[in-house]
């Protein structure tokens, strides 16, 4: 029979003088739960906002879009839809601003109708949207106008036509994407866009058709029925429900990342809980022995401390939930540059509820690990301090707790990742890391003992011997510090890899300016203009657009009807841009067959070259027949070769290459690639090109890369902000682990002091021990981080893997330095106080 009232009273009385010691314990929980609640609240709010804002983000009930106008047959289907209709054409183009003599690559959008039907196109002045009925008016991105001092009323030249700027665009329906960084949106009336001369054969135009449908109209059956018909013509159907799904999918990665951060903080928090409770229990051993001597049962003593831990843990969880709710107010501000929608910051009760339940659960589980042995503390401890466990036999309850931790972790990860297998992989990865660190700790204690350098100096030997002596902290510190280092370093390496891979694109002699939309007869003039700027013509490529009509002797329609077809729809159901030439460029390599030679005579078979991935997706091989429709003209070809193409280089790359002597007379446009030495030359060259050839678009890759780098810099900032949670909890774990070792070492240090050790010697012993521990923990952690980031980079993110040695060196030195400094701070007590005072306290 348990006397709960006695246990409650004893728990209260016993905790009075020691509550300060549980501050670490509470901080671990608070930070872990705060991260979880903050991130979950953000995720819940994001999901709610997606549901609420999907309609205003899409702007219509149904959107049809593609890079060609709808065909007549589909047009009939669409015409039969009830409700209101609007259309929008968009394309990338150059714009010229005479007032500032500036040219800019813009995303030009020609609007007809009353789009958006939901939400609004926000402008300044607010009525500027109405101006789009005026064929001379244009609306220009507010941020861009601010940046370059462009005013309302200034003129803007687009292709062959001039417009006046009627207002500033405060938002856009092209969704937030990378393009916004280097191609600000410009809106004009659709009829006016058509008069600019920019929409012509070969232009990369996106056609969008918007429908506002009556409430009674069921859109899903309609899209289910006609989806394939639209997809066969490379047109995409979007609905509000689909938009919700798409947005949720799009944020899945963000969610996974945030969940990972929450998990890391929580796991570090768990380690913090276990090690701080362990410290607490160790300081309580004399009291526990006395309680046991006085006749208390092991179980009752255990309940006294469990109650203390649960009450304080519960408080920690509540504080954590409050802190998390406050922090989540900041998250939407951090993410506002990446999110196309506004995320609200309301209090998320489900997130708080989850945080509380998970918090109490993990606190209890991880506290039980060091608490359970309390039941078995022998009353003999009052008479003699022993190091060995009080009882040798196995404690099955302890094993049950370990099992519950693994099962709980798996359940939590399953919940976070939404997949049992993924959860299992994460759990497995964590267990492997734990075991690896534990094995390294064991190996070190064994190795140091086995090969102990007996001739080395006393202090060094003392420091080294502390790694394997009884009550050593090698395993605890190595696991906690090593795991913390591993997780944070992985985060750091991956972030560095992302930036490195982008930076590389802009490196050295890579071309950085691409001109497209050039008409055949403009080429000579443009070449001359380019040469006059002393810029090299790196590539000058003709491009012909065509569509595939069949392959391997069957028509596309036959293949579409064939359910056993292996060719992938994306590969054949698209407008293909091909070029023609008679040699490989420096970034290609023939894998099979021979690269097409120029066709000698009209009527000879045409042998084309396919990019290897494209050939695989089409399931065709060398010798197979492929037929095309080249802007109305049928053309039969044979696969002559497959090529490997280096896609990391900034060049024009083609899935299909024709031989010379076939397409020369087909309607085509040209692309010119050059390399500009600096932004000033690029700007002057761009202005000259746009003035002389208004239809030609000049893409400045450097500015795209700058925009990408800006975005990545912001992403890094967010990652770093989130990593602060992990770093803080990691730091708490570090401090609590080291405090644990302080408890072990303080008595030794005092006795050494009594026997005449100088401060220098004591500090050297501590520094040696902690430097060794820090070195081993950091090195093992970094090794784990290298393996895990290599796996992530190679298989998940498909990035070229580099080892940022310098950064890793810095992390290594930092971790070791922090550990040594905290370790030395721990020794301060011994140095400051007189040995007698400490000896009398019977530490």
């Amino acid at each position: 029979m348990i006397d709960w009232s006695f246990i409650r009273q004893l728990a209260w009385r016993d905790s009075r003088k020691n509550r300060g010691r549980l501050v670490l314990f509470m901080s671990s929980i608070i930070l872990g739960i705060a991260a979880l609640v903050a991130i979950n609240s953000f995720n819940y709010n994001l999901q709610d906002d997606i549901d609420e804002q999907a309609a205003s983000l899409l702007g219509a009930d149904l959107v049809v879009s593609g890079n060609q106008p709808v065909t007549d047959s589909l047009g009939v289907l669409l015409a039969a839809l009830p409700g209101e209709k609007a259309t929008k054409l968009d394309l990338f183009s150059m714009a010229y601003f005479p007032a500032t003599d500036r040219t800019q690559f813009v995303r030009l959008q020609g609007l007809a109708g009353n789009f958006p039907f939901y939400g609004s196109l926000k402008t300044e002045p607010a009525t500027a949207r109405q101006e789009l009925t005026n064929p001379h008016a244009a609306l220009v991105d507010n941020g861009f106008m601010d940046q370059y001092g462009i005013q309302i009323g200034d003129s803007i030249r687009l292709g062959n036509r001039s417009f006046f700027i009627a207002g500033r665009l405060l938002n856009d329906f092209a969704s937030a994407n990378v393009a916004a960084g280097f191609a600000p949106p410009v809106y004009v009336a659709q009829s006016a866009l058509e008069q600019t001369g920019l929409v012509q054969a070969g232009s990369l135009v996106n056609y969008n058709y918007y429908y506002k449908l009556p409430a009674a109209f069921e859109v899903k059956p309609w899209t289910d029925k006609y989806d394939n018909a639209f997809r066969n013509e490379s047109l995409r159907l979007q609905t509000i429900a689909g938009q919700k799904e798409n947005l949720s999918d799009a944020f899945a990665n963000l969610n996974s990342f945030l969940n990972l951060v929450a998990l890391v903080s929580l796991l570090l928090g768990c380690i913090g809980v276990a090690s701080s409770v362990l410290i607490y229990v160790r300081t309580k051993i004399p009291s526990i022995a006395i309680f046991r001597c006085l006749g208390m049962k092991g179980r009752d003593v255990f309940l006294v401390y469990l109650l203390q831990i649960l009450v304080l843990g519960g408080l920690g969880v509540v504080f954590g939930a409050v802190l998390g709710t406050v922090v989540q107010l900041v998250l939407p501000i951090l993410f506002k540059d990446f999110l196309p929608l506004e995320v609200s910051t309301s209090i998320s009760w489900p997130a708080i509820g989850e945080g509380l339940v998970i918090g109490i659960f993990i606190t209890m589980l991880f506290a039980l690990v060091p608490l359970l042995p309390v039941r078995r503390i022998s009353p003999l401890r009052i008479l003699r301090t022993a190091f060995e466990q009080d009882l040798g036999q196995r404690d099955y309850a302890q094993w049950a707790v370990y099992l519950a931790i693994v099962a709980g972790l798996q359940a939590f990860l399953w919940y976070l990742t939404g997949s049992f297998v993924n959860g299992l992989m994460f759990t497995g990865g964590l267990l492997v890391s734990f075991l690896l660190l534990f094995a390294v700790a064991r190996l070190i204690t064994w190795g140091v003992q086995r090969f102990f350098p007996r001739r080395w100096s006393f202090v060094f030997r003392q420091g080294l011997a502390n790694l394997f002596r009884p009550n050593n902290q090698t395993a605890t510190l190595l696991v906690s510090i090593g795991l913390g280092t591993a997780i944070l370093t992985t985060l750091f390496i991956i972030q560095g890899l992302l930036l490195e891979n982008v930076g590389e694109m802009d490196a050295g002699n890579q071309p950085n300016v691409i001109l497209y939309g050039i008409e055949k007869e403009q080429m000579t003039g443009l070449s001359e203009l380019t040469t006059s700027f002393k810029l090299p013509i790196v590539q000058q490529v003709p491009i012909v657009t065509m569509r595939m009509t069949g392959w391997q002797g069957r028509t596309k329609a036959d293949w579409l009807a064939d359910s056993t077809r292996q060719a992938e729809r994306w590969a054949f159901n698209r407008e293909i841009r091909v070029t023609f030439r008679d040699s490989l460029d420096g970034f290609e390599e023939v894998l099979s067959g021979t690269f097409p030679k120029p066709r000698a005579a009209h009527g000879d078979s045409v042998f084309i070259s396919l990019e290897e991935g494209f050939a695989e997706s089409m399931h065709v091989k060398v010798g197979d027949e492929i037929s095309f429709n080249v802007q109305g003209m049928p053309l039969t070809t044979f696969v002559g070769s497959t090529r490997k193409v280096d896609f990391t280089k900034m060049r024009t790359r083609f899935l299909v290459i024709f031989p010379a002597g076939v397409l020369e007379n087909a309607p085509q446009f040209q692309v010119l690639v050059t390399k500009s030495p600096n932004p000033a030359t690029t700007a002057r060259y761009r202005t000259a090109v746009v003035k002389a050839f208004p239809n030609v678009s000049v893409v400045d890759l450097s500015s795209i890369l700058t925009a990408l780098s800006d975005i990545l810099a912001k992403v890094s900032y967010v990652i770093q902000f989130m990593a602060v949670f992990s770093i803080l909890t990691g730091f708490i774990v570090l401090v609590s682990s080291l405090l644990l070792s302080k408890l072990q070492r303080i008595k030794e240090s005092v006795l050494l002091r009594t026997l005449g050790a100088s401060s220098k010697q004591l500090l050297q012993i501590s520094a040696t021990e902690y430097a060794l521990l820090g070195t081993l923990a950091a090195a093992t952690g970094i090794f784990i981080a290298l393996v895990s980031s290599w796996l992530l980079a190679s298989f998940q993110l498909k990035l070229t893997f580099y080892v940022p040695w310098l950064a890793i060196g810095v992390i290594f030195v930092l971790v070791v330095a922090i550990i040594v400094v905290i370790g030395l701070l721990n020794s301060r007590d011994v140095l400051r106080k007189s040995p007698l005072e400490v000896l009398r306290r019977e530490v």
Binding site: P470, K747, E748, L751, T754, G756, L831, S834, L836, L839
Partner: protein
């Protein structure tokens, strides 16, 4: 050196909140090299405090302690540690062995701190003398109380100290074990010519020294010679 330890008008006061408690007041005495002395007195009379001050484990409030020609009051903790290491041996009632070191490692420490190359040999020789050579690799927890105190004795003599301070050296031991430790203490002391200062309740043990200082209320109550110095 005519005196190895001189204590002049020593006072120690502890502050507890806004109250102060004088533990030692105006204590003076001197000890000659090779002399053995017992400090006796009831609990709370300031015995252990006096021992701590004489051995340089704590700082006096006023007065002076000169140990092996070093005026301890003026020395930093590090300098006092150096004096202790070169000249002083300790034995405590509760042994105060370093729990994570083996018996041999515990004994070696003073010599190692002193940078002696023969620490291991010297420590083994001393363990042999106290009859624990075969337990040299055992940890303190694996030794009985008497064995632990013998290890502490070996450690105390490891650096050939000029003076040995013993705080209730047999207080935690049974009679026969206590007797064995006592015998070892006096024989090693005699063999090595060490000055011996013992703090004890045990008047019988005190009687075996040449001189007894009795403390009462933090003051020297009596200072008597039991034997004529040799």
């Amino acid at each position: 050196m005519s005196t190895i330890l001189a204590v002049n008008q020593l006072t120690k006061t502890y502050q507890s909140g806004d109250r102060s408690l004088t533990v030692l007041a105006d204590v003076s005495f001197a000890i000659q090299p090779g002399e053995s002395l017992a400090i006796v007195g009831p609990s709370g009379s300031g015995k252990t405090t006096l021992l701590g001050l004489c051995a340089g484990l704590d700082r006096a409030g006023s007065g002076e302690v000169i140990l092996c020609d070093a005026l301890l009051n003026e020395l930093s903790e590090d300098a006092r540690a150096a004096v202790r290491n070169r000249n002083v041996g300790f034995i405590f009632q509760n042994f105060q062995l370093i729990p994570t070191l083996t018996a041999l490692e515990n004994v070696m420490i003073p010599a190692e701190l002193n940078g002696r190359k023969d620490a291991r040999v010297a420590a083994l020789a001393l363990l042999e003398k106290v009859g624990l050579a075969d337990r040299s690799h055992h940890y303190p927890s694996q030794l009985s109380g008497g064995e632990q105190q013998r290890v502490a004795l070996a450690r105390a003599f490891c650096n050939n100290p000029q003076i040995l301070f013993a705080d209730e050296p047999t207080g935690n031991l049974d009679e026969s074990t206590g007797q064995m430790v006592e015998d070892l203490l006096f024989s090693l002391n005699q063999e090595m010519g060490t000055t011996l200062v013992i703090v004890t309740h045990d008047l019988e043990l005190a009687g075996k020294t040449q001189r007894i200082i009795q403390l009462k209320g933090g003051q020297v109550f009596s200072d008597t010679r039991t034997q004529t110095p040799a």
